[in-house]
């Protein structure tokens, strides 16, 4: 009896109440294809290593704005997760919009992130001699490609990638973010002491360690630690014209606003590069650009945070 009452109070009642939370502004139900992709995600237990909840604290800043109650309206079964062996995916559609990257990574994560321990999902792909019409083969690096033919995604893989692309946090108004943050952890030691990403690079000079760390966190998944990119998938930065140009305006512009369907070094790339204007500060972007301009034998002229700010204000 006692237990029944407590189960009611702590399990069922909050369940009833919270099941009624209305969707937040901009939170939409999934399309049929995306919903199918979510089923593939659940069936293969992706949720055991990837969370889908951004907590209002410093550690979660790279993953997006703090999650709000209205974000979960259409999320049944829930996928908040209990372990973060891999990164949070709440906002992955914004953070990694390139489906080309997602396909290569799903086929074998180590093809793009050598240190990754995620399983290979090559069984969600088929190797064929000629790709069927309407399907683009996955541009795998030679070390991971099959000996013969090309690799194309199965309908399951296509649905899964469509689902991942749909994971975008709709923006909250400033007031709502304020409420979410107020609950939280502004007193957190990590938040107040300032993590390295917020280190005072803004004060002036280029900080190589900082630049390298930011590049690893934001850029190397596609452009690779070697700066060489992946042939046919992601352009190299090593020896690139824009990166080595004296006038850095174009370089800054691309990092701020992203790039799509571009010709780089005379080669066309189908992928999408995300914009970083919304997630990185001027100082962080200057650090990344200076890193790119000085690494791998590059010798572009360094830029300052002020130049980034100037370019940002043009829009």
């Amino acid at each position: 009896m006692v237990y029944g009452c407590l189960a009611w109070a702590m399990g069922v009642l909050p369940g009833i109440e919270l099941s009624r939370v209305p969707p937040g502004p901009g939170v939409e139900p999934l399309t049929a294809l995306q919903a199918r992709g979510r089923e593939v995600y659940v069936a293969n237990g992706c949720g055991y290593c990837h969370t889908q909840q951004v907590r209002p604290m410093n550690a979660d800043k790279p993953f997006g704005r703090p999650s709000a109650a209205g974000d979960f309206k259409y999320q049944t079964p829930e996928l908040l997760g209990s372990e973060r062996t891999g990164p949070d995916l709440t906002n992955i559609g914004v953070r990694q919009p390139s489906s080309v990257w997602q396909y290569i990574h799903l086929y074998n994560p180590r093809a793009v992130v050598p240190q990754s321990i995620m399983p290979s999902f090559s069984w969600l792909f088929t190797a064929v001699e000629q790709p069927p019409t309407g399907l683009t083969p996955v541009p795998l690096p030679p070390a991971y490609a099959p000996a013969h033919g090309v690799v194309v995604p199965t309908p399951e893989a296509q649905a899964l990638i469509a689902y991942l692309a749909s994971l975008k946090q709709p923006p909250l108004s400033g007031a709502e973010v304020g409420v979410a943050m107020a609950d939280a952890v502004n007193s957190a030691p990590s938040a107040s002491s300032g993590a390295p990403t917020r280190a005072p690079a803004a004060a002036g000079g280029y900080d190589p360690a900082q630049g390298s760390s930011l590049f690893t966190a934001n850029c190397s998944a596609c452009h690779q630690a070697s700066g060489e990119g992946l042939p046919g998938a992601f352009p190299p930065l090593k020896g690139d014209e824009v990166v080595n140009a004296d006038d850095a305006a174009m370089h800054i512009h691309v990092v701020l606003h992203g790039l799509q369907g571009a010709q780089v070094g005379g080669v066309g790339y189908g992928g999408v590069m995300p914009p970083f204007a919304g997630t990185l500060s001027d100082a962080d972007i200057a650090n990344i650009i200076d890193y790119e301009r000085s690494a791998w034998g590059n010798h572009g002229k360094p830029v300052t945070a002020a130049q980034v700010a100037a370019e940002r204000s043009k829009q």
Binding site: A7, G45, L80, G86, D183
Partner: protein
């Protein structure tokens, strides 16, 4: 099968071997991610197979078997119905087999911790629980004494409450979006602390006095622990979702009662330790008592760690890291599995009149103890480093790289644990089918060191 009790133990042992074999494979995949590719062996399907088969195959079946024996013996009567016990065993096994197959073909209820089995399969498990509860109550109702012995409070209480948990988890109407998150928080903690903990404690309240041949230190303290556990436990589940969009008050209440859990935890473990006090010699020379001793120490340390983990300041560093994985093994393995083994090694020979070899008991004990220590220590250190990496804003992949060493150590601990289960299986075989020890009374068993 000699008796229904030994059938439960044998069945549980097979699930232990299977479930921890899968666990070992999962641990290996953190180190060699390309080992065993393909849909049937992918990590995301094996992980719930591991947790569900050790929970609902091994631990549930073992504790129900032990619970039946304790309920009948402490009531001075026979089991109410051996047929019902066999039916229950069949249902538990059907559920666990069906659940394993369903998870492996990717048919699940969502990545919802410990309730991944599709609902029709969880309904079979619920039926097994109801049969068990009915049988236990029937048995205790036939007792010869006036009072219901403390163990039976725990065992029957735990079984009845778990029926409620199972129903709450299955019904769908209040489980949409964030509502389901609230139910998940409630469920995942209660399935552990309201099912396994009371049964393991109940069995130990019988086994420990029996082995030491003296009454429990304080019967009243045992009752206090029973009621506080009942009152506090259902409320703490939301501490699995601190800093989530669940209402802040729900999270805060969960933290307050997580601290209150220190009352039953410290009360329960000190009751056991005070019962053992002055019997150091007996404990050192009896492997069943050593198993129980490690179980009690894990209860004290693991559950206190649980309280600490629920505090917001520590959650900031530890939540979502491998510290949680270490904690769940310290508790489910350190407490539950060790108490099951202590109970089995003490009670099964009394039922079958056959004993395991002392050297094999020693091997099981030391491999399991050293294994779980390596496991928990490596994941606790590694998980803390993960959390610090994140809060310092390092690139995420750095936390993956930093965990590598600890994943390998975890695998080594896990290998020792698995080997100890192979020895346990051998010991169970000897206790069920080995040479009969000429019907020895308990005192003689004690003298030979086989029991205590």
């Amino acid at each position: 099968m000699r008796t229904v009790f030994s059938a439960y133990v044998i069945s549980a042992t097979l699930w232990l071997l299977f479930g921890t074999g899968v666990g070992l494979l999962v641990a290996l995949k953190f180190w060699l991610p390309d080992f065993g590719a393909g849909p049937w062996l992918t990590l995301g399907r094996l992980r719930p197979i591991h947790t569900n088969s050790v929970f609902y195959g091994f631990a549930s079946i073992a504790l129900v078997g032990l619970g039946y024996y304790v309920a009948a013996r402490s009531s001075g009567t026979k089991l109410y119905s051996a047929a019902l016990a066999w039916i229950g065993l069949g249902l538990f096994n059907v559920a666990a087999v069906a659940g394993t197959v369903a998870l492996d073909i990717g048919y699940n209820n969502g990545d919802l911790e410990y309730r991944e089995w599709p609902w029709p399969i969880r309904l079979i498990f619920l039926a097994a629980l109801v049969v068990t509860a009915w049988n236990l109550i029937g048995t205790v109702a036939r007792r010869r004494s006036e009072d219901v012995y403390l163990s039976n409070w725990y065992i029957i209480g735990g079984t009845l409450w778990t029926c409620i948990i199972a129903v709450v988890a299955i019904l769908p109407w209040y489980q949409y979006g964030l509502g389901q998150v609230a139910v998940s928080g409630y469920y995942m903690h209660n399935a552990v602390g309201i099912w396994f903990t009371p049964l393991a404690l109940g069995v130990t309240y019988y086994t420990l006095p029996k082995l030491l041949n003296r009454p429990i230190y304080s019967y009243a303290l045992g009752i206090l622990v029973f009621w506080t556990n009942l009152l506090f436990y259902p409320i703490i589940g939301s501490h699995h979702f601190l800093f989530s969009p669940l209402p802040w008050w729900l999270q805060t209440i969960a933290i307050v009662f997580s601290v209150a859990m220190l009352v039953p935890v410290w009360g329960g473990s000190s009751n056991f330790l005070l019962t053992m006090r002055g019997s150091t010699h007996d404990v050192i020379h009896s492997y069943p008592l050593l198993f129980i001793f490690v179980g009690v120490m894990s209860y004290l340390l693991g559950s206190t760690e649980g309280t600490l983990e629920a505090l917001r300041s520590l959650q900031q560093v530890w939540h979502l890291t491998n510290v949680t994985v270490g904690h769940s093994h310290l508790t489910m393995y350190g407490i539950i599995a060790f108490m099951i083994w202590g109970g089995t090694y003490a009670l099964l020979p009394m039922s079958t009149g056959r004993q395991a070899d002392r050297w094999a008991l020693a091997l099981h004990f030391w491999a399991a103890t050293v294994g779980i220590l390596i496991y928990v220590i490596s994941l606790t250190i590694g998980g803390t480093i993960q959390g610090i990496d994140w809060s310092h804003g390092m690139p995420f992949i750095q936390s993956v790289v930093d965990m590598q060493t600890y994943y390998i150590w975890r695998g080594i601990g896990g290998l020792l644990m698995f080997l100890s289960h192979v020895i346990f299986a051998w010991n169970v075989w000897r206790m069920c089918y080995g040479p009969a020890a000429a019907a020895m009374p308990l005192n003689t068993l004690r003298a030979t060191g086989a029991v205590a």
